[in-house]
């Protein structure tokens, strides 16, 4: 049996619906059609009345989820693409994120964001929005990079009482496969050593984990062992695991697919330098997408985003310092 990242997301939703009568799904085309990416395929049939097609109204979709959560439901909302969540942004950051702090009533919604670039996706179907949401207090922002995490973290997201922004990477949907689904969930908020090493640490998440692992593999041929940390969650950020890795390696490279200004990478570096300055043998570096909208043409896109070879080049430079 082989299960994809997308299957894992579908299975997690099926399990959440089966286990918890408070769960329902709301979003564009999620019903009979099963969603633009088929992440909810067959769920409407299996759980009649609990997987609802919404109008083309992201702001209302999130607002409705929030109201439902106030009344004790556990809505899972699908944005057709992460990029369209800019239209529902206000409800997420100003209502979902503030509800618990203001009123003491938690807001257990999950907003699924099909994120990240794909060849030909272009400026409006490729964005990585984790930094925007992580900036606002009151949200939990998850960025699973593996099939197992996609499953267990989505279940974890539905289980907790707080609003979760669930950033799924579209590039992983079909290609990333695992033999099966995990029986036990890794706790939310814990990073993971995806590859142990001793010469440098690459901190990354989501699709960039795979570029980074490939880069580490490439560099291993030169005799360097790169440790790769998969953040899994960008808010909260597991600073302890990162610091422990940097303590072992003395060198840090952060890799993210998002735009460079103020993203996950700069946050990681700010934390590591504030708390682990003495651990660093070299200046911490970061590698992000270029500071332009995501270009549509695959040839441009391939340069706009960090690739394994760009990661390897950055890592080699770091090792040489």
């Amino acid at each position: 049996m082989s299960i994809t990242y997308l299957d894992a997301i579908r299975e997690a939703q099926a399990k959440a619906l089966a286990d918890d009568p408070r769960v329902f799904i709301y979003g564009q085309d999620v019903g009979n059609f099963g969603g633009a990416f088929k992440a909810t395929e067959n769920l409407a049939k299996k759980f009649p009345g609990r997987v609802l097609d919404s109008p083309l109204s992201e702001d209302a979709i999130v607002g409705i989820a929030i109201g439902a959560a106030i009344e004790g439901a556990r809505p899972i909302v699908e944005m057709q693409f992460a990029d369209f969540s800019t239209v529902g942004f206000n409800q997420v950051v100003n209502q979902a994120a503030t509800l618990y702090y203001r009123t003491g009533v938690p807001c257990p919604i999950v907003v699924r964001l099909p994120s990240g670039g794909t060849a030909g996706g272009g400026p409006f179907h490729s964005q990585s929005m984790e930094a925007l949401y992580a900036h606002y207090p009151g949200l939990v922002v998850l960025t699973p990079a593996t099939v197992e995490d996609a499953y267990s973290m989505l279940l974890g997201a539905v289980a907790i009482e707080d609003p979760v922004i669930f950033c799924e990477h579209k590039l992983l949907y079909y290609h990333l496969k695992a033999a099966g689904l995990p029986a036990e969930a890794t706790p939310i908020g814990k990073a993971r050593i995806a590859r142990p090493g001793r010469d440098a640490t690459i901190v990354t998440y989501s699709a960039m984990l795979h570029e980074s692992l490939a880069a580490a593999e490439e560099i291993a041929a030169d005799g360097f062992e790169i440790e790769v940390v998969d953040l899994r969650s960008v808010k909260p950020l597991d600073t302890d695991t990162i610091l422990a890795s940097v303590a072992r390696t003395g060198r840090l490279l952060c890799v993210g697919e998002a735009f460079p200004w103020g993203g996950v990478c700069s946050e990681v570096i700010a934390r590591v330098t504030a708390e682990g300055f003495g651990l660093l043998d070299a200046a911490p570096q970061r590698l992000n997408a270029k500071d332009t909208p995501v270009p549509y043409h695959p040839a441009l896109w391939g340069t706009h985003r960090p690739t394994a070879s760009a990661v390897a080049a950055a890592a080699r430079q770091l090792l040489e310092v």
Binding site: P55, A68, G138, I160
Partner: protein, 346 residues
């Protein structure tokens, strides 16, 4: 103004109907009065520099507001907006908690974290508005959807909005989505002719805001917002229709805000012509006169009721002003409920 009401209750014998109506109107009037007295106190406290945050009052809008709150029941949802002191009190909010939030007592329902018009108790169906206008429409719709999904029926969710608020995308998306789901949502628009300083002529171009109802496929209701009996009747009818499965209801009440946008504002921009028209009448004075005229109470009784609230408001304010303010040292400064995954900033 009694014509419509009479027609609606024509099945009852005249006297019984008249008495029932009298009791309802007197009850509503007394809530309006309490809201008015309380708001006058808030204005005085504002001028005295005692208030934390802003003061935005509902003077002139009490008839509509109370009509929404009074027709809701326990188990219903109410998301009041800026000018709904009367509706809030009709739905169960108290003089005490109102003063606590405005005066910044740590014992208030929002614990100093938010306050004033943003207060609420969501667990009791009393939603706490965010400032972004229109946002509460889908929120109430979602609350109703969740209730329906778990098998409940017979509930209603109501929210209020101003003329300006109807120009938001949130209003459109929320009302449209509620219409698709045929939810028992009531949206009461207080068309007070201005959004802050912006007159309706710069806000929309339709002949009447109620014309929007047909574009959503929902029932539309118009009412004279200065006329308590009419408001009680029309809003009551709309809420009953929603409760009975009639889907979303859009009410548009024409009225005038008789104060500034906030207490910092002298509302100089309001066309004085409007103040002289029917729309510029003070709904509380009109309702009081009506109550007296119908013989449901005497002028002396009305004055006594006012004194009663006056005393309660003053006493409560004095008490609340001695309550502690929130202590930042006691705050846990955590925005999520799952403490175990709180993010740590060194």
């Amino acid at each position: 103004m009694s014509e419509v009401v009479k027609a609606r209750h024509s099945a009852e014998p005249g006297d019984a109907s008249e008495n029932r109506k009298g009791r309802e109107i007197v009850k509503a009037y007394r809530i309006m009065l309490a809201a008015r007295v309380l708001e006058e106190k808030l204005a005085a406290l504002y001028r005295a520099g005692k208030i934390k945050g802003g003061v935005f009052l509902g003077r002139g809008q009490e008839a509509l507001s109370v009509s929404v709150g009074i027709h809701l029941r326990k188990g219903d949802i109410f998301a009041p907006l800026i000018r709904d002191q009367a509706g809030r009190m009709a739905f169960g909010d108290t003089i005490l908690d109102t003063l606590r939030t405005y005066l910044g007592s740590s014992l208030g329902s929002m614990r100093g974290r938010d306050g004033n018009i943003h207060r609420g108790r969501p667990r009791e169906g009393y939603y706490a508005m965010i400032s972004h206008l229109g946002a509460m429409i889908p929120t109430v719709a979602g609350g109703l959807l969740a209730r329906r999904l778990r098998g409940e029926s017979g509930m209603v969710g109501a929210t209020c909005l101003g003329d300006g608020g109807t120009s938001t995308g949130a209003f459109h998306e929320g009302l449209n989505a509620a219409a698709v789901e045929e939810l028992p949502l009531v949206v009461a628009v207080a068309n007070n002719q201005y959004a802050y300083s912006t007159p309706n002529s710069r806000q929309f171009a339709c002949a009447d805001l109620v014309d929007r109802a047909i574009g959503y496929g929902v029932a539309g209701h118009k009412v004279d917002g200065t006329d308590l009996a009419a408001c009680l009747d029309v809003v009551g009818g709309a809420i009953a229709a929603a409760r009975a499965g009639g889907g979303p209801q859009l009410i548009v009440a024409d009225l005038l805000r008789l104060v500034g946008h906030g207490e910092h504002d002298d509302a100089r921009y309001i066309d004085p012509e409007l103040r002289r028209k029917n729309i510029g009448r003070d709904c509380l004075a009109v309702a009081g006169a009506f109550v007296i005229e119908r013989g449901w109470a005497t002028a002396e009784e009305l004055a006594a009721w006012r004194d009663e609230v006056d005393t309660e408001v003053d006493d409560t304010a004095n008490r609340v002003m001695r309550e502690p303010e929130p202590d930042p040292a006691e705050e846990d400064w955590c925005a999520i409920s799952t403490r175990s995954i709180e993010d740590n900033f060194a």
